[in-house]
Symmetry: C2
Subunit: 86 residues, 2 copies
């Protein structure tokens, strides 16, 4: 049995309800859902002909791109910190 | 006129073609698209009844969650680095 407590959080994203199950707190999940909802509405307003599925995929592309950039910055900073400590 | 050169990259995500326009290199966009595609297939295999739109939204939720966690770690590291330098 897993020790990680599974939390169920219901959120509303782009007019649809989702039950998110995971180890994150409902506060965190609601923040994430609000960010996804906002990004979807932003992409939709710039591309009014796109359907929900394509808007959601482009939102995921955006988020993964931001994630990778953040990861690069983190790795750079870790190197810098290691140099400072040596 | 913007100085940032806009690059158009065509990618295939979950069986659909997308033209991504932005300042990122095609290599970066293709990597991002492959990660989104992989995550969508992973979520789909665990939840075979979900439609593409819901799979894409859950992929975006995942990516934004990872992004926020990475951002927290980065901020912590920045503080640590500042302390080392002081």
């Amino acid at each position: 049995m897993s020790d990680i407590k599974k939390v169920r959080t219901t959120v509303d994203i782009y007019g649809q309800q989702y039950v998110i199950v995971g180890s994150e707190s409902p506060t965190q999940i609601k923040l994430v859902a609000a960010m996804v909802d906002e990004k979807m509405r932003e992409i939709s307003s710039k591309n009014p002909t796109l359907d929900t599925s394509r808007i959601a995929v482009l939102t995921a592309v955006n988020a993964v791109n931001d994630y990778l950039k953040m990861k690069d910055r983190l790795e750079q900073l870790e190197k810098e910190l290691k140099k400072e400590k040596d």
